[in-house]
């Protein structure tokens, strides 16, 4: 099984629709199964039957809602990529807001505005967490500060009367000078 990579637009729309449906089916099936298990009549056999009935009846609906959201989000995202000619987190945030507004358009203008705000804030948090993880993972690849190294080397060279322990911690190119200083003293 290969590492999964996203398709380019416009095939990403179909893939995101399928991925969202799968996520809604399995995730919704898990939660609805637990809820049906809890709300079933007493008895272990009846509880499992209640959980199974809840999964069967509600999991496809949750999957369908997730698929609709993923489909509209991806259509708007690909449209924004095409119009703005760039890919950045603002595309996702605007896509979340616009998709939220579109999908609640039958509930009135106030509901559209509220859902757009919720979608935008949600995608902002998702993109923020993604950028945070990128910064954390990039920190371990950062090189040391050369200006700081030069400052430390200058401190060693300008000092007089150093102990023998400092020779090991000094940079390599300053080693003969420091050794000569110790030899004379």
């Amino acid at each position: 099984m290969e590492e999964y990579s996203r398709e380019p637009c416009p095939f990403r729309i179909v893939d995101d629709c399928g991925g969202a449906f799968t996520m809604g089916c399995f995730g919704g099936g898990l939660f609805q199964g637990l809820k049906g298990f809890r709300n079933a009549p007493q008895g272990l056999k009846r509880r499992f039957a209640g959980g199974l009935a809840a999964v069967k009846s509600r999991s496809p609906t949750i999957g369908g809602n997730f698929a609709a959201w993923g489909c509209v989000f991806s259509i708007v995202d690909c449209s924004l990529v095409h119009l703005r000619k760039k890919e950045d987190p603002w595309n996702s945030i605007m896509s979340g807001a616009i998709a939220g507004g579109i999908l609640s358009s039958r509930n009135g203008v106030a509901a559209m505005f509220g859902s757009a705000i919720i979608g935008g804030v949600l995608l902002s948090m998702i993109e923020g967490v993604g950028i945070l993880f990128t910064r954390i993972s990039a920190e371990q690849f950062r090189n040391s500060d050369p200006q700081n190294d030069l400052g430390r080397a200058g401190a060693f060279a300008s000092g007089s009367g150093m102990g023998s322990g400092d020779i090991n911690s000094s940079p390599g190119f300053e080693f003969p000078v420091v050794q000569q200083a110790n030899a004379t003293s």
């Binding site: 290969e2 179909v14 496809p60 609906t61 489909c71």
Partner: protein, 206 residues
């Protein structure tokens, strides 16, 4: 190269002697290379670099075709969209029929049409999507446990999908669903085998 000079004939009197001397080379080189002359300013023969087949670069450890997991989301998304389209069209038809029978006009008719389209569209999309999720899940699990990806996986996944979809509707309906899954997947595999035999290409399992 001096060999290239000897292959091209000269118009001088010396060319006759050179041509007679290099005639055995002429006959041996024409069997491997073409007779077109090459530039004497090149320090290599460019005909060595010509190859017929295209070349691809694969990452280390990567196989040369997409597996079942990569295609699962495409299949599920395609099924959901096709189901939504079919259900939407059926909803348009049913909505027009019902609103005409009830003689509704204006905003009420528009609302009823939208209700029919969205309910029937989402219903059919959810059904087809659920079937494809079951099929893809069975296929990916079979590929993972068997370690193979072939037509047998497709047939078993199709049968398992039918069995699972009707698993709580009684034994006879369950067996009927499994038979339908077996039939559809078998027909699809026969179609793939026929296409594979006609085109002689490498098989691509879905």
């Amino acid at each position: 190269m001096s060999d290239n000079f000897s292959r091209t004939p000269y118009s001088d009197g010396h060319a006759a002697t050179h041509e007679e001397a290099s005639k055995p080379h002429y006959t041996t080189t024409t069997s491997s290379f073409s007779r077109t002359p090459v530039s004497p300013y090149l320090n290599y023969d460019s005909r060595y670099l010509q190859q017929a087949q295209p070349e691809f670069i694969f990452p280390e450890g990567a196989n040369k075709q997409r597996g079942r997991f990569e295609l699962a989301f495409s299949q599920i998304g395609t099924s959901v969209m096709i189901g939504g389209g079919i259900g939407g069209l059926a909803g348009v038809y049913n909505g027009l029929k019902v609103t005409k029978a009830l003689e509704q006009k204006g905003k009420v008719r528009r609302t009823q049409l939208l209700n029919h389209i969205m309910k029937q569209g989402s219903g059919t999309a959810n059904t087809l999507g659920t079937l494809t999720v079951l099929y893809s899940a069975c296929g990916v699990l079979l590929q993972f446990f068997r370690g193979e990806d072939d037509h047998i996986n497709t047939v078993i996944a199709g049968s398992a999908t039918g069995l699972l979809y009707k698993s709580t509707a009684g034994l006879r309906t369950c067996a009927f669903g499994g038979a339908i899954g077996l039939g559809i997947s078998s027909l699809y595999c026969l179609y793939l085998i026929a296409q594979e035999n006609s085109s002689n290409s490498s098989p691509k399992y879905l």
